[in-house]
Subunit: 277 residues, 2 copies
Amino acid sequence: MSYRPELSNATRPPTVAVASVNEKGERLETPIAAEHPLTLYLDKRELVTLMTLGQWPEALAIGYLRNQGLVRSLADIRSVQVDWEVDSCAVTTSASVQDLEERLAKRTVTTGCGQGTVFGNLMTEIDAIALASERILTEETYYRLMDNVRRYDTVYKAAGAVHGCALAKDEQILLFVEDVGRHNAVDAIAGRMWLDGIDGADKIFYTTGRLTSEMVIKCAQMGIPFLVSRSGLTQMGYDIARRVGITMVGRATGRHYLLFTGEQRFLRAAQTPVPAA
Amino acid sequence: MSYRPELSNATRPPTVAVASVNEKGERLETPIAAEHPLTLYLDKRELVTLMTLGQWPEALAIGYLRNQGLVRSLADIRSVQVDWEVDSCAVTTSASVQDLEERLAKRTVTTGCGQGTVFGNLMTEIDAIALASERILTEETYYRLMDNVRRYDTVYKAAGAVHGCALAKDEQILLFVEDVGRHNAVDAIAGRMWLDGIDGADKIFYTTGRLTSEMVIKCAQMGIPFLVSRSGLTQMGYDIARRVGITMVGRATGRHYLLFTGEQRFLRAAQTPVPAA
C-alpha cells in the first residue's frame, strides 16, 4: 500500500440551478457550473486562492503544489484538510519545504500571466525533462479513445462553462476531471496521479482546452508523452512542445485531427488504396 | 482633443504558420495564434508578465492597470513604450501612483486565482458600482448585433485558440479585440475605451468566453450595463451579476439565448400569437 496523506473528503456538487428566460419567453431552471474560492495554506502560510468547481479539492491542492514545484513528492505532505465553511484548504508538510521562501519570491515576479500562474523556474526545468521516446500511439487506439471521451458523462454537457481533462492508458480513461479553470483540472489530475501512484510515461493526456505554453509544460512535467486537445494551439505551446519533444495533436473533433509535433510516436493506419471502379 | 499618453505602436501579426499532418496524412501549413510574453513595468517596477497575441499591447497595458485599479485615470499615465526586442512594456506615470505599495501587497495574497489575477479589494469595490438603470436593449437590436458579431472577420476563424471581446453601441461594433487569454482581451478593450474617451454606460459587452466572476466584475467596473456571451456562466459570475444588477445573457448562439439577470433592461419582441389552423 503506497503512502497517502490524511485527507478530508470535501467534494461539492458540480452544478447549481438558477432561473433564466429563453428566447421564447419561457422561464427555465438552468444548471450552471458551481464556482467556489478555495484559499490554499501551506504550513499556515497563505499561498493562493483558486476558483474551483470543488469536486476534487484535495487532489487540486496537491496537484497545484506539485505542478508549481512547491512540493517534490507526496511523502512530503502530511495532511490536506478542506473546510468549505471558511473556503480554505490547509496543507501541512512533514518536513519544512526546502527553499520555499526563494520559490515564492520568484513566483511573485512572474505571476498573473494570462495563462494562470507561471513560475520563473519552469522554463529552465523543462529542458531537464526526457519523455519516453519508445511509446507509440496508433491511430486506431486514438480514435477509440476519442469515442470514449465523447461518450463520457460530463458536467460540460449539463452546464457548460467548464474545461475537462482526461488521463488515459490507450483508449481507457483512467481519470476525468472538470473545473472552471483548465489549470485547475490539470492540477487535480496531477494530484490524483500522485495519490493513486500513477506514472505518466505510458499515458495520454486529453484536454478540451487550448494547447498553451502552460498546458504543454504541465503535461511534460507529469512525464506524459501524448497531449491531445479538441481546441487549437498557441505559438508558445507549439514552441515548447517541439522543445520537449511531446507528441501533440490539436483540433481533435470527430475523425479530424492535426498532428503538430512528435510524429515519431504516432502511427497512422495504413492507407487503404482507393478501389478501382 | 482629449489627452493621450506617449504611445509606441508595436502591434504584431496575430498568426504564424506551422507544419502539421492531418488524418489523411497530408502536410499542411496551419495558422496558429501568436503568443508573446510581455512583461509590464510600472515606473520601473516589474509588475506582471502577460501572455498575449500582441495586437494591442499598449492598450492591453493601460487596460490592465485600469482594471486592476493601479491607475485611476488616463491622465496619470505619461508614456507606454513596448519593446518586443526584450518583450517588455514600460509604463511611466506623471505623478507617482498613490498607495501602490499597499495595492501590490494585497495583490500577492490573492493572486494566481484560476480565473486570472484578482485583487483583494475588487469585491468591496463592486458594491460601489451603480450601472445605468434606464438603458434598454431590445431583442431586435440584440439579434442584429449577434449577426454582426458572427460576420466579423476574426483571428479565431483562421487559427482558433483565442477569445474575442466586442464593445458595441446598439448593433454597431465599436471595438473588437482577440487575445490568447480572455482577460487580456477585456483589458485591451478597457485600455482602448480610455484612449478613445468611450464611456460604458450605453454600451454592450460581448465575449466568446465564459461569464466568470472576473468577467462580470470587469464589465461592471467599466460601467457597462449589458454583458453577452456565447458561452455559459459560473455560479460566482451569476452571483456577482445579480449583486451589481447587470443585464447578463448567456449561451448566445444563433437565435437562442438565455437571459439570466437584469431582465428589466431587456425588451423582448412582442410575441406573435400562433395563427389558428
